[in-house]
Structures are given as C-alpha cells and as structure tokens.
Symmetry: C2
Subunit: 204 residues, 2 copies
Amino acid sequence: MGFTQHGLALLPLLEPARPERADAARNRNAIMCAAARLVAERGVDCVTMDEVAGAAGVGKGTLFRRFGDRIGLLRALLDEREKDFQEEFIRGEPPLGPGAPVCERLIAFGERALDEIELQGDLMVEAEAGAPGERLLHNVYGAHRAHVAALVRELLPGADSDYIADALLGTLAAEVVIYQRRALGMPLQRLKDGWRALLDGLSR
Amino acid sequence: MGFTQHGLALLPLLEPARPERADAARNRNAIMCAAARLVAERGVDCVTMDEVAGAAGVGKGTLFRRFGDRIGLLRALLDEREKDFQEEFIRGEPPLGPGAPVCERLIAFGERALDEIELQGDLMVEAEAGAPGERLLHNVYGAHRAHVAALVRELLPGADSDYIADALLGTLAAEVVIYQRRALGMPLQRLKDGWRALLDGLSR
DNA sequence: GATCTATTCGGACCCTAGTCCGCTATCAGC
DNA sequence: GCTGATAGCGGACTAGGGTCCGAATAGATC
C-alpha cells in the first residue's frame, strides 16, 4: 500500500511551495501503512496513537506533528477513497457525474455515500467524532454540501437550497446510518429507498 | 436551585424500589448545583470533572458513581427542561400537544426544539458528543423519534415513517443547528422556515 | 565536502476522564 | 439506643490523547 502526500480532501489545492523532506515522506508512509494495518486487524477503536507510533517505528511527536490529532490520522486514511468519490460526482460518469437529470444525480450521490459507509463506516464514524461540529467545518462535509446544494438549487429554484442540503446530508451522516443499520437493523436497501423517497417527496 | 432524583428522561419510569439514601441525595444535589453553576460561569467545555467534584465538596468517585460519566452529568443537567418538553408534546396544549392537526404539531415540535437549542445549545452539543451513536441510543432521542414517527405515520400513511423520523430529527440535532446558527450565520427564523418548508414538501 | 539553517524527530511530560477498593455512614430490625 | 448488613464515599491510580523542546538530519549554498 502506498500513500501520497497531503491530508486534505478538497480537490485541486495548491501543493506546499517546498516539497516535503525525504525523511518526512518516509515517516508519513510508514505511519499510514501501520495505522491502516492496525485498524484492519483490530478495529479502529482498539488502536491507540502510541501503538501506531510504535508500529510505524517513529516517536509520538512525529505522529502528531504529521497529522495533528487522532481524527486527522483517521481522515487521512479515508482520504484516498474520498478523493475518488469527489472525482466521480464532479467529473465522473452519469448518473453520479454531470449529464444525468439532477434528481438522478442526487439519488446516485446518496446511494454511493451509503455504499461507502457500508464499506468503512466504523472508520468514518470515528473520524467524524472529533470536537463537536468539527466534521461540519471540514473540507469533506463542505464539498458534499456544496455539491448537494448546487443540485438542489437546480431542482427547486425557489427553495432554501443550503438548508435542504444540510437536511439531506444529515441522513447520510455515518453515525446515523450505522445506527439505522446496526441498532435498528434496517437493510441497506431500505435506506436507499428512503433516500429516494425523500428526494421524490421534495421534488414533487 | 433544587434537583430531584433520577437521571432518566423517558416519562413514567419506575422509581427505584428503595429510595436513595440521605447522604446520596444530599451529594447528588450538591453536585448538580455545583455543576450548573460552573457551567453557567465558565462555559461547559471549561469545566472538568475534578472541578465539579471539588466545588461540590465530594470525591471524584462519588461523582462518577452517581452519574456514570461526564455525559451522564450533562444530561442530568438538561433533564428537567427535557421532561417539560416531553410533557408538552405528549400531554400539553395544542399545537404542540394533542388536538392540533398533525402537520401543525410537527411544525410546533421543530420550532420548540430549535428554541431549546437556542437556549442551551452548548450544553446539548456536549451532551450529545459521547461515544459515537450513543446519543441515538439514549432515551431522549428515542422519545423524540417515537413521537415524530407516530405523527409522520398519521400524516403519510404509506411512507417509511421511521426513516423519515430520523431524517427530520437529523435537522434538529444540536450539533447541526449550532453549526448553521454560528458558523453559517443562519438566523433562527430561517431554520424554522426551513423546517416548515421541509414538512410542507413531504406532506404535499 | 564543509557549513549553515530550516525542518523534522522523539520521548518525557501534562491533563483529564474514568476505575478500584478499603473505609465510612446510613438505617432497618431488635 | 445498639448493631450489622448494605449502600455510599473518596482519593490514589491507570490510560490515552496531546504538547514541548533539545537533539538530529536533510539539503541548499559555497
């Protein structure tokens, strides 16, 4: 497994003026590989930062310098797939990407997001669980929000698209989806149907 | 300020068989008064459990024995008002209580919930920020969910009322509302209008 | 290759939530 | 009142996240 530089998720952000030093890059890679392995082996909530540092063969200071905090590290682990997702809904094929009818794109967006949670929900829940409100201020939420709001603006020209975007994205928060899937035992398909019904209801 | 026994929020829960011992009741009261005072003075995120214990004149063990954890203490602080809220929407006057048209009741529910967040949002955010998903498993969410789902079931007989309840309550999560109010600067009235529009959209 | 500076490294340290268990106070029954 | 079982108390202790700063290293410049 190989990881590239940058821990951000919004697309074409300017790279740092000076490239990262060789030892720093080596360590970043070692840390992310170790973290990914430990998380896969033991589950995200049974991995401490000390263990990650130990497994990567670096000191704790290095770990925190690179990733800021635990949440930062987890987000970095999710970053690759998130970039793919963003690429798909911004420039990818319909129905997720441009070209399909707006309502179809929204449906596809939700279904894709639910699939992603199905795949790495635990990690996402933990990564969202930082300081209260932090996830909402982060790039990932911002990108999703901007995308959904833009589509809603097309779909319902008079409506408060920003508010509706938050409302819709609320149903796709990993915490909520995991609760519905595990605690309530709702099948994935039911959530997809519900999402579609929500959009149908709003656009009718 | 005086606080009564019990830390739960769902309505007529059976009281413990044997009433709490006198010293325990005294300590509970001292702790809650101290906690309420410290939170009011310094803001909820600047109060540690040690400080609360110190200010209440009890040991740390007592604090944790009574309230389980930090979240438990904060929830207990919110409990009185939450009980009032539940009383209002279950047995109170219309439009919040029974008697008004279902849609009106839902609108009133959301507006009341938003007002509550306006009043003690910080505390609520912090109290919701426990282990991921914990808030959803708690009595308070359960009670709100049951209420909203029941109303939705009446309003839209064919729909997936449980799913819709989660979707609607997502917009009333303290974390989201605080984000909209503070980070995005949305006025409270805009959130109330948005809530109403959401319900109009769904019931149309 | 020597030198110099900015960047990075790493582990000792701090803070706070939460646990544990021997000691103490309460109160029901006598 | 006395007494014994039971519930409650409290502070020393642990664990894990996050900080700090002197030491070490990369890599640009000469």
